[in-house]
């Protein structure tokens, strides 16, 4: 059918028109993101074949049926073997899709499968509130001794913590884990380029991990309706190499310690 052709053509030209995944060249900027994309493309192929097939079949029967000169239509109540075929084949494909996805999902969400280095040293505590992101980093150089230590840090703020709004800086060289929570209503942490999305559920502190493979500035926004300013929760994730990351934290520490006396730290951004 005409419509199927248009749809497929549109899908084919879409990437070239930049109507495709965000990010440099539509590539995900994290390893999990790349795997998610691969799964997407796999489903896309299966679905496109099915889509084109059914639409062509539909178009064909419409075309033939409209031009049917027979006195009567073909009289049949169905075909048992056809039914069996089109039950077994799709169910096989569908089961394959379902099982094939499990690994990525497990790595993304099952805590026991999280990368150990990321779990041991979380980089930040991210609080979503109407309508901004408040980031809390542990003091530079603070090493967490145990999971209990991390839990304590999550419960009670510390004097050396660094607070900053709407900008999460992470190192590119390792896996990073942060804890996500909400200060008021439900939000969702969504970074399109990194293909990370996790709801911030009030009353819960949820660990999320990702790794940014490339240096860059990635979008961070809210993906769960949180009120009138939902669209305003504009923030960014800065992914930089380890040494720059350390420097970023030190600079932040310096800025946050500004007591207005040392003229070395100008109090304005100008």
């Amino acid at each position: 059918m005409f419509w199927a052709v248009v749809a497929v053509v549109l899908c084919l030209v879409a990437p070239s028109m930049n109507w495709w995944f965000p990010g440099n060249n539509a590539e995900a900027a994290s390893t999990l993101g790349t795997r998610i994309d691969d799964l997407f493309y796999l489903i896309l192929v299966i679905v496109t074949v099915t889509f084109v097939g059914t639409q062509i079949a539909l178009g064909y029967v419409l075309w033939k049926g409209a031009d049917n000169r027979d006195e009567k239509a073909h009289f049949t109540h169905g075909s048992h073997s056809l039914e069996v075929i089109w039950t077994i084949v799709p169910s096989g494909i569908l089961l394959f899709i379902a099982l094939y996805q499990m690994d990525v999902w497990a790595e993304y969400r099952v805590i026991s499968k999280f990368p150990a280095d990321a779990v041991a040293q979380p980089v930040a505590d991210v609080t979503a509130r109407q309508f901004e992101w408040r980031i809390r980093y542990p003091a530079p150089g603070r090493k967490f001794k145990s999971q209990a230590d991390i839990r304590k840090w999550l419960r009670v703020p510390e004097a050396g913590d660094l607070h900053y709004p709407n900008e999460l800086c992470v190192p590119t060289t390792r896996n990073v884990l942060f804890y996500l929570r909400s200060g008021d209503v439900q939000h969702a942490f969504f970074s399109p380029e990194l293909r990370v999305k996790q709801d911030a559920v009030p009353g819960k502190v949820i660990p999320v991990w990702f790794n940014a493979t490339k240096r860059g500035e990635y979008t961070l926004l809210c993906a769960e309706l949180c009120g009138w300013g939902h669209y305003k929760m504009k923030a960014r994730i800065l992914a930089v190499p380890e040494n720059e990351y350390r420097q970023y934290l030190l600079n932040l520490q310096k800025e946050l310690a500004d007591d207005g006396f040392d003229e070395d730290a100008p109090e304005s951004d100008e």
Partner: protein, 543 residues
């Protein structure tokens, strides 16, 4: 289906379309309540005699949201590219004028150009476009052609226009078109959005009622006011933020201007006063004649003085003009050990510092970075600056510096001693000060810092309403809203959490709300730092 049903349904279907038709509303500035309380003639003037009322005075100087006016009297960076004609323009129906700018100017389409010098000085024309590659302006000129060397401003007020766009996109639904803090969303918010029209802002680096500096507003936009609905617009972009700051300043000036004009008339010519007068033996004609006289004779003076005072107040709170050293005398560099004393050198300034307000310059980079130096004199014509270097040697070419922003507005808000290192002892001293009768933090913030001190349960007087008591207990700000003393256990600091932010809150108080300033007579600098160390530690201990 009966015919009647059909008709009824048709009418119902048509109703929304009919209701929706008609005049299309335009974004307009909202008038303050006080302006609207004036008698109609005072608001609108007398059209027949061409006597302007308050609203016309405001509109004529500020314009409407879609047609902003740049009232040069106000200290606003309107934006606009200053340029100069460099070649005799070609004579054609469409004139091409080769020009040069001091900065990069993007290509534009149709826009406005105002001549600053030359035969057409002071007039504005609409040009067809500016091509940045050939650096040519195309325009249709009917009269005489400009000469080489004529100066002009391209796209005057573009910063303000940009500011309005940013404001309309991000700010207006809370702060309102005229900055009255009463946009459509405002009524759901606690605390209410800031009403700019009083020219009062809470979180700033200046004393008491002084206006905030651009840096202050910039910081609020970037970092938000935590614990309120004012979010952080960190990612807005430099030029957008700057434009928004400018627009907010301008809106604030507009609001203050309107307030002042209305206030002048409110006593005698409000609708209420008018009715009272009528009840006496004054006739309507007499009142109108009187009003006409006020509007024609006194108003010009009021407009003049109000605008100058407003401009001066905002001008006072500037961040200082920066500049670059262009040529520092050689011989002075040779001997750096000797006392260098006063030196004179050439500079290039980014703006014009106000007379008499530049006793100090801050060196921003180079060898003497972060030094403060005393200015002896400035020769504006030769772009020369004479500075006392004492014993510190000299500057180098290319060094950046900034004139000290007026110290008057920051008196007492700049620490004279550095922060006392955070320690258990320091916190303890701070805690004692916090509890002490002299400093009285506990009265509002409460013994545990929860913001529930005894004063939050008392009834306060309303200074806006003949000192009657407010109907509800608690502290109130100048806008008449209840204010809650900060719950210091929450770890949220509206004005920012840097030590200097809290220092300013303690030293300068929070203008317009009930946080009083604490001067040297109450707390020494060192004591302030102790209190700060204690305050910052409260959230760490409470859980």
């Amino acid at each position: 289906m009966s015919l009647r049903h059909t008709q009824l349904i048709c009418i119902l279907l048509a109703a929304p379309f009919v209701a929706g038709c008609g005049e299309q509303p335009n974004a307009a500035f909202v008038w303050s309540e006080r302006t609207l309380s004036l008698m109609p003639e005072a608001q609108r003037g007398f059209r027949a005699e061409k006597i302007p009322g308050v609203r016309k005075w405001v509109d004529d100087n500020f314009g409407t949201p879609t047609d902003l006016l740049a009232w040069q009297r106000l200290p606003v960076n309107w934006g606009g590219f200053e340029g100069v004609v460099v070649e005799k323009p070609t004579d054609a129906p469409v004139v091409m004028i080769k020009v040069s700018f001091s900065e990069d100017v993007p290509a534009t389409g149709e826009t406005e150009l105002t001549w600053l010098s030359g035969k057409a000085a002071g007039t504005a024309i609409t040009i067809l476009g500016f091509d940045s590659e050939s650096s040519r302006i195309s325009a249709e000129l009917s009269g005489e052609l400009p000469e080489v060397g004529d100066t002009f401003v391209l796209d005057l007020g573009h910063q303000l226009k940009q500011g309005r766009m940013v404001y309309a996109e991000h700010c207006v639904h809370c702060h309102g078109t005229s900055g009255d803090g009463d946009g459509p969303t405002a009524k759901y918010l606690n605390p209410r959005p800031r009403d700019y029209r009083l020219g009062r802002f809470k979180y700033k680096s200046t004393i008491d009622a002084a206006r905030p500096t651009r840096d202050d507003l910039n910081r609020i936009i970037k970092h938000g006011v935590p614990g309120t609905y004012m979010p952080s617009f960190l990612l807005l972009g430099e030029s957008e933020t700057r434009a928004a700051v400018e627009y907010v300043r301008w809106l604030s000036m507009r609001g203050e201007f309107e307030r002042r004009l209305s206030a002048e008339l409110a006593g005698e010519y409000s609708t209420k006063a008018y009715k009272n007068k009528l009840r006496g033996d004054t006739t309507r004609e007499e009142i109108l004649a009187e009003l006409k006289q006020v509007l024609t004779e006194d108003m010009v003076g009021i407009v003049d003085s109000s605008s100058k005072e407003i401009a001066a107040a905002w001008e006072e709170s500037h961040d200082g003009v920066s500049g670059t050293v262009t040529s520092f005398p050689e011989e002075a560099k040779a001997d750096e050990s000797a006392p260098s004393g006063p030196r004179s050198f050439e500079v290039e300034l980014d703006g014009t510092p106000r007379e008499g307000a530049h006793q100090l310059i801050h060196v921003l980079d180079g060898k003497l970075k972060s030094r403060k130096l005393k200015v002896i004199s400035r020769d504006a014509e030769a772009n020369k600056l004479s500075v006392d270097f004492g014993k510190v040697g000299g500057l180098s070419d290319g060094d950046r510096f900034r004139f000290d922003p007026s110290r008057a507005i920051r008196e007492g808000l700049i620490p004279v001693a550095p922060r006392v290192a955070d320690s258990a002892e320091s916190r303890d001293i701070g805690r004692k000060l916090f509890m002490s009768k002299e400093v009285k933090c506990v009265n509002c913030h409460g013994a545990s810092g929860r913001g529930n001190g005894p004063q939050t349960h008392d009834f306060a007087k309303n200074s806006n309403d003949d000192n009657k008591l407010f109907p509800e207990p608690g502290l109130h700000d100048v806008w008449g809203n209840t204010v809650q003393p900060r719950d210091l256990t929450s770890g949220i600091y509206r004005g920012g959490r840097r030590p200097i932010d809290i220092y300013r809150r303690i030293r300068g108080g929070i203008t317009a709300s009930q946080m009083p300033p604490h001067g040297e007579n109450i707390l020494t600098d060192e004591q302030v730092w102790h209190v700060i160390n204690y305050v910052l530690s409260i959230p760490l201990e409470s859980k």
